[in-house]
């Protein structure tokens, strides 16, 4: 089974990079402050995580910092026992 961080990374690459956009995204890439995902698009990323892992992420926890990299997201998911 694919590791959580790979699932998240793959989803981010597929959904938030335009076809032909050859910028590199890795586990540490700044997603929000780096301009890959804005505050509106963050909502669809949150819906993805909630749907994929069957969890509810409270708004208070869905901060730009918590979503700012794949590693940060993985840490957030650990709070929901998703490893």
């Amino acid at each position: 089974m694919a590791e959580v961080k790979d699932v998240v990374l793959e989803y981010v690459k597929n959904e938030y990079l335009e076809e032909g956009d050859d910028r590199v995204i890795n586990y540490d890439t700044a997603l929000i402050s780096g301009g890959f995902v804005d505050s509106f698009s963050m909502v669809s990323l949150k819906v993805f995580l909630e749907t994929k892992y069957g969890i509810q992420i409270p708004d208070a926890k869905a901060s730009p910092e918590a979503f700012d990299s794949v590693n940060n997201i993985v840490n957030l998911l650990k709070e929901f026992n998703i490893n």
Partner: protein
């Protein structure tokens, strides 16, 4: 503690003595003279002895910094203007700027104006479909873009016969450019120290900003070079810009605030401004203010509420003592945000109200004037603003009654047309008033209080989104049979897009389906247009003639009275 001395001495005094001639004199402009925004923001400032003064301090998300003096900016804008001219772009043609907040965006804007073309800035998060609609309508000749946005342009270029030049500002030569695509590296081009600026006049078209309406596709609000008269003086009086200020306007020049006050207002006043080309995090923003010693900060309620969400403790980690004046724009600033900013920054955010069409501030709170938290403030001197009856569109005599905000045409920055859409332009004027489309009331002391839109347009984080454009795009999704889009109240963004969707047979209303539709709209139109919530329904409320009754859905979302539903065809 010393009392601050503001540029506007007293609002009441200014009401008696104000004339647009003050701005004209200070800009050295006489009626009938040539008037070019590009020249006024660069060459004129250099001529006044500020060549070596910093015009722009730019920083990206990695903290990489670039600094440009007014003379650097003069030369680089000349270089861009000359490049476009040599390429074959003619005065009056539309040149689009489709970039993140990189220096080329700011200087490109002024360079385009210097050679007489019309600048058409578009938000870089727009998807291909949104881009196509706006470029097609404008008949755009050239577009400046970045490598990362190039695929979106390539997707649609075949449908745009007018688009002859695609200028890529950061091409690295790794992948070959295609026919019609040119590598333009601003700082590597041969510098043009002297350029004959296009002899534009007051009424020469300057900028085309697209804005959404309830029906039809977005409309291009066309402005003229004369707008600088309003933008200069409102930036001086409301933003209180002074020679030693370090100014930060957080708006993106893809929207009107980013050009009227993120470019023209600041630089026509010869003020140093900072630009951060990075996504929002509270820590980054506070760090930026501390590092660059920002003194004047013009931001938006959504951003302020996002900062409020992060709490007060984080503010204490930074030295923000350089701040001396704060203003806000985009959507009404709630009283809590004003009170919060006074508590944590020692300064209230002063709300300002204006629109893409108005080009400059119309109703504002002024430095030194009593602030009523939650109020929009009072009309800018020299501009007659009132509220008119929602039906008759005649001014309401009695105070405290809700009507539509209306302004007497004649202020310099007023839009002069909707591009290729005269009929809609004419509809914006009645009984000698420009109808803003927003509802408000005026209290006994003359303060305006915002109530909401008077139509179905959604104001999300200060950006107007038209339901029609989203509904049209939704219909292109294979699972969607029909849809209705409304604004839903949101504590952070004021409103967010909510879509009611009836699915075609064979499609299930699952969470994954919702996500797929959300992403479809995000990529096609923009993240702003993406429904933040989708409610799957069996059918939509319609009139007997088959028209979807959006207002019924909106009223439910807002907990308002549904009103007359006698024409409703079906039970909901």
């Amino acid at each position: 503690m010393f009392k601050q001395l503001f540029n506007m001495k007293s609002y009441e005094e200014e009401l008696k003595t104000f004339s647009w001639n003050i701005a004209k004199e200070e800009l050295g402009y006489k009626d009938g003279d040539n008037l070019n925004i590009g020249w006024h923001c660069t060459d004129r400032i250099c001529n006044s002895g500020k060549s070596e003064k910093l015009a722009l301090i730019w920083e990206d998300h990695k903290g990489e910094e670039k600094r440009y003096t007014f003379d650097d900016m003069r030369v680089l804008t000349n270089t861009i203007a000359s490049y476009l001219q040599k390429l074959g772009v003619n005065p009056g043609e539309r040149v689009c700027l489709f970039m993140d907040k990189v220096p080329e965006l700011y200087f490109g804007f002024l360079g385009i104006l210097k050679m007489g073309a019309i600048a058409q800035p578009l938000f870089s998060a727009f998807g291909s479909e949104s881009l196509l609609t706006r470029l097609e309508n404008a008949g755009t000749t050239a577009i400046f873009t970045q490598k990362k946005h190039l695929p979106k342009v390539r997707n649609i270029v075949a449908k745009l016969p007018s688009l002859k030049y695609i200028l890529v500002v950061d091409d690295d030569g790794v992948k070959p450019l295609r026919e019609g695509e040119y590598s333009f590296k601003m700082e590597q081009e041969e510098k043009v120290y002297d350029f004959e600026v296009y002899p534009s006049k007051a009424e020469t078209p300057s900028v085309l900003h697209y804005t959404s309406g309830t029906t039809g596709q977005p409309k291009g609000a066309q402005h003229v070079h004369y707008s600088i008269i309003s933008q200069y003086i409102t930036a001086k009086y409301v933003l209180d810009l002074k020679d030693d200020d370090i100014y930060w306007c957080t708006a993106d020049p893809g929207w009107v605030t980013g050009t009227s006050y993120g470019i023209i207002g600041a630089w026509s006043n010869g003020v140093t401004q900072c630009v951060m080309d990075a996504g929002f995090t509270a820590e980054n923003w506070y760090k930026f203010i501390e590092k660059h010693k920002i003194s004047m900060w013009y931001s938006a309620p959504t951003a302020i509420r996002a900062l409020m969400k992060e709490g007060k403790d984080i503010v204490k980690k930074f030295d923000l003592s350089s701040l001396r004046h704060l203003c806000s724009i985009g959507e009404p600033l709630n009283a809590e945000a004003v009170i919060w900013s006074e508590e944590v920054f020692g300064l209230p955010f002063l709300d300002t109200y204006w629109q893409t069409e108005t080009g400059s501030m119309m109703v504002s709170n002024y430095p030194g004037m009593k602030v009523k938290p939650g109020s929009m403030g009072k009309p800018f001197p020299g501009i007659e603003v009132t509220v008119v009856d929602l039906q008759t569109h005649l001014p309401l005599e009695k105070r405290g009654i809700v009507g539509m905000i209306a302004a007497k045409p004649g202020w310099p920055a007023m839009f002069r047309a909707y591009w290729n859409n005269e009929a809609t332009y004419k509809k914006k004027f009645e009984n000698g008033w420009y109808l803003c489309g927003d509802r408000a009331s005026i209290d006994e002391e003359g303060y305006f209080w915002f109530v909401g839109r008077d139509d179905d347009v959604i104001n999300t984080a200060g950006h107007l989104v038209g339901p029609f454009e989203i509904e049209s795009a939704l219909l292109e999704h294979p699972a969607v049979a029909e849809s209705a889009v409304v604004g839903k109240p949101d504590p952070m963004n004021m409103e967010v897009v909510k879509a009611f969707v009836a699915l075609k047979p064979g499609f299930e209303p699952t969470k994954m389906q919702e996500l797929e539709i959300m992403n479809f709209i995000r990529k096609k139109l923009s993240p702003l247009a993406m429904p933040q919530e989708i409610e799957f329904v069996d059918k939509l409320p319609k009139t007997r003639s088959g028209k979807i009754m959006r207002r019924v859905l909106r009223a439910k979302e807002w907990g308002e009275e549904i009103g007359d539903i006698s024409t409703l065809e079906n039970d909901m």
